[in-house]
């Protein structure tokens, strides 16, 4: 049984009468990367702010298990990279990092030493004494990441850490997040890049319009999904397309030359489907697979948010 780091129970947060977060419950296990997903405006950032004590909840509870014992939030043991990023642009990079680490209880000497090491790792060693405003946006994001992890937090909350990053820096950040987990930190990761989430996260929690939608390991969620993706390549078609169009449990049928793709409800027995399909065409290949997280996201949050996942 995995150890729990954070437990959120029946959490709600209202703005006037609008429920930004509406009765969500989930837990984050120690040393895992938990994906916290949802379309824009789903309530992720509000939920994170409540978890981190920046906003009070309207109802529900947030509990931490720092040393296996339930207790309240300890801000010094948490690192937070918010979606709305910023640092002191008129202050020197090293000074800002030392100050932010001091607020997390790290001594100036230790913070200085760690910051210089991190800056070297990120190829920013030469900019330690530069003002932040002199750095490029990508460099500033790296500095921001250093500020988040400099105090070696046990729980790291990353809200859209990949937004605005080029592919090289995306890879860098991916590796850094994996490294954090490997070094013993727990990561709560909110992101829109489904391929990255699929690659990094052990489990996910998806919310939409403030309400919980999906929760579990990637495998569990993919297994729970009511549709499989089917692709059939054939040499000769003998009524296959007509048959597929007649099926009640087929969606999004696309035919392209000698290939057809479709979504098949899991209620359909795959064996009888394969048998029938094999009779209606000369099969070159057949592939039935679980949907990607991208597909699941779009299915779960509905058409109006379909273009938000990438």
């Amino acid at each position: 049984m995995p150890e729990t780091m954070l437990e959120v129970r029946n959490l709600s947060r209202y703005y006037n009468s609008f429920p930004a977060v509406d009765d969500i419950s989930f837990a984050v296990h120690k040393h895992e990367i938990m994906g916290f997903l949802g379309p824009n405006g789903a309530g992720k950032t509000t939920a994170i702010r409540v978890i981190l004590g920046i906003l009070p909840p309207s109802s529900g509870s947030v509990q931490f298990f720092w040393d296996g014992v339930p207790g309240p939030l300890d801000k010094q043991r948490v690192g937070y990279l918010p979606e709305e990023r910023g640092l002191y642009d008129d202050a020197r990079v090293l000074d800002s990092l030392v100050y932010l680490a001091a607020l997390k209880g790290v001594s100036p000497a230790q913070a200085r030493e760690r910051a210089l090491r991190w800056l070297e790792t990120m190829d920013l060693g030469a900019y330690a004494h530069h003002k932040l405003e002199k750095l490029s946006k990508g460099m500033q994001q790296k500095v921001q990441f250093i500020a988040t992890v400099l105090h070696q937090p046990e729980l790291v909350v990353l809200d859209e850490p990949f937004s605005g990053l080029d592919p090289i820096n995306q890879d860098l950040f991916k590796n850094l997040i994996l490294e954090l987990r490997n070094q013993g930190s727990t990561v709560l990761l909110s992101a829109h890049q489904m391929n990255v989430v699929q690659e990094l996260c052990d489990r996910i929690f998806l919310i939409n319009k403030g309400k919980p939608v999906l929760y579990g390991t990637l495998e569990e969620i993919r297994d729970q999904h009511p549709e499989n993706i089917v692709e059939i390549r054939y040499a000769e078609e003998k009524g296959l397309l007509e048959y597929l169009r007649s099926l009640e449990h087929v969606r999004e049928l696309h035919s392209n030359g000698n290939a057809v793709q479709l979504k098949l409800n899991t209620a359909v027995d795959p064996n009888s489907f394969l048998e029938q399909a094999g009779r209606l065409c000369t099969v070159k290949s057949i592939k039935i697979e679980k949907p990607s997280l991208h597909e699941i996201f779009i299915h779960a949050v509905g058409g109006e948010n379909a273009n938000e996942a990438s």
Partner: protein, 403 residues
């Protein structure tokens, strides 16, 4: 959650170090007082130098009655009188050529009507009223002599009067001892307003560049607010110390400061008003800044906020004229006006101890109240990045338990 002193100390150190090196602080601390001193003293200095320059004044006395009297009246003044004879037109022609600066023409009718002509080379060189003040006693002396009053009687009649004032408690009037606490109060106040301005800009900037969310993930809004207010208070005190230090050093070259007889009790009384007034204003500034979207609207709001405690300064005349009058006393008991009103009154009169204690207590209670409300607005508004908080929202923050 209890306030962590280490967090407050970290914010204090950061803000103090950051802003003590800021151009705004350096300019306001050193340059602005220098400019004020220059613009305040230089014109007066120039005028004084110009006004003491000697003027060669020819006097054409057709009556022959005023020579002796005028000679005595203008002695030891900047007007060097020379009694001349001749034709007015010739003499004025000579004045225009630079033989003298002016010609005073006294005709027989002048003795009765007091009217006479003054012809000058450059009208800006002469002050007509100044000359009239010098000539008035001379003509009065002549007229009294005509009516038969002897010089002894004349001295008796014109002997000046002098009123010496002292309080029944034995305290003697000493204008400087009142003026200096008043100015000290004003310096404190200006400094508070200035540091409040930087505090406001600092809050708006942290909100604009979004760092506030990172800060709030490390400490509470109240810890952040307290660290900031203390840092800017320390900056204000440092600024005052510099101003007073430099001011006293410069003043000691011209005035014997030990002879002024400063009333240090009054200065001591001024301290709680400064300290509490600063806390009250700084909280207001920070809370208002947190509700703003950008620096521009911050400046406008700052202007509105400082109008409240500044109001007594605009009404300083009635307060100074009657520092223990009903108007001044009522204003002193309204918390937002208390600091300015009391600082002025302490400079202008002896204030009963009970009033000092009562107004300080009222100010203390009001300051604690404002701190609590200010912290609520501050916390509730900081994360509103894209818009200013509406009045309805601010009222909601003040009245609801949940922000």
């Amino acid at each position: 959650m209890p306030m962590k002193r280490a967090n407050v100390a970290s914010v204090f150190k950061w803000e103090f170090r950051k802003h003590i090196r800021s151009p705004l602080f350096l300019i306001f601390t050193f340059l602005v007082p220098a400019i004020m001193a220059i613009t305040g003293f230089l014109p007066g200095f120039i005028i004084e130098r110009m006004s003491v320059a000697e003027k060669a004044l020819w006097v054409l006395d057709e009556t022959g009655q005023m020579v002796e009297i005028l000679d005595a009246a203008l002695e030891d003044t900047k007007f060097k009188a020379e009694f001349v004879e001749g034709d007015v037109e010739d003499l004025t022609a000579q004045v225009s050529e630079g033989a003298a600066d002016g010609l005073l023409h006294i005709v027989p009718a002048s003795l009765e009507t007091g009217e006479m002509n003054l012809y000058v080379r450059d009208i800006r060189d002469f002050s007509r009223s100044e000359l009239e003040q010098l000539l008035q006693p001379a003509f009065t002396q002549y007229r009294l002599g005509v009516t038969g009053i002897s010089p002894q009687e004349f001295t008796f009649i014109l002997a000046p009067i002098s009123v010496r004032m002292s309080s029944v408690s034995g305290e003697e009037e000493n204008v400087l001892s009142f003026i200096i606490p008043f100015f000290a109060g004003m310096i404190l106040f200006v400094s508070v307003l200035f540091s409040g301005q930087i505090l406001m800009q600092s809050v708006i900037k942290e909100k604009r560049n979004r760092i506030v969310e990172i800060l709030l993930s490390s400490l509470s809004a109240l810890e952040l607010l307290a660290g900031k207010i203390l840092a800017f208070g320390a900056l204000a005190l440092l600024q005052i110390a510099i101003w007073i230090g430099v001011g006293a050093t410069v003043a000691s070259r011209f005035v014997d400061l030990s002879a002024i007889g400063l009333d240090y009790t009054q200065l001591l009384y001024a301290l709680p008003y400064f300290f509490l007034g600063y806390l009250l204003l700084a909280t207001l500034f920070a809370a208002v800044a947190a509700t703003m979207k950008d620096a521009e609207s911050g400046s406008q709001a700052h202007g509105l906020v400082i109008m409240i405690p500044m109001l007594p300064l605009f009404l300083s005349a009635p307060i100074m004229m009657a520092p223990n009058g009903v108007f001044a006393r009522v204003l002193s008991f309204i918390p937002v006006f208390t600091p300015a009103a009391m600082l002025m009154r302490l400079g202008a009169a002896s204030i009963p101890l009970w009033e000092v204690v009562a107004t300080s207590l009222i100010l203390l209670v009001a300051t604690v109240f404002f701190l609590k409300l200010g912290a609520r607005v501050y916390q509730g508004s900081l994360l509103k990045f894209d818009s200013a908080a509406s009045i309805k929202e601010i009222l909601g923050m003040l009245t609801k338990e949940q922000l």
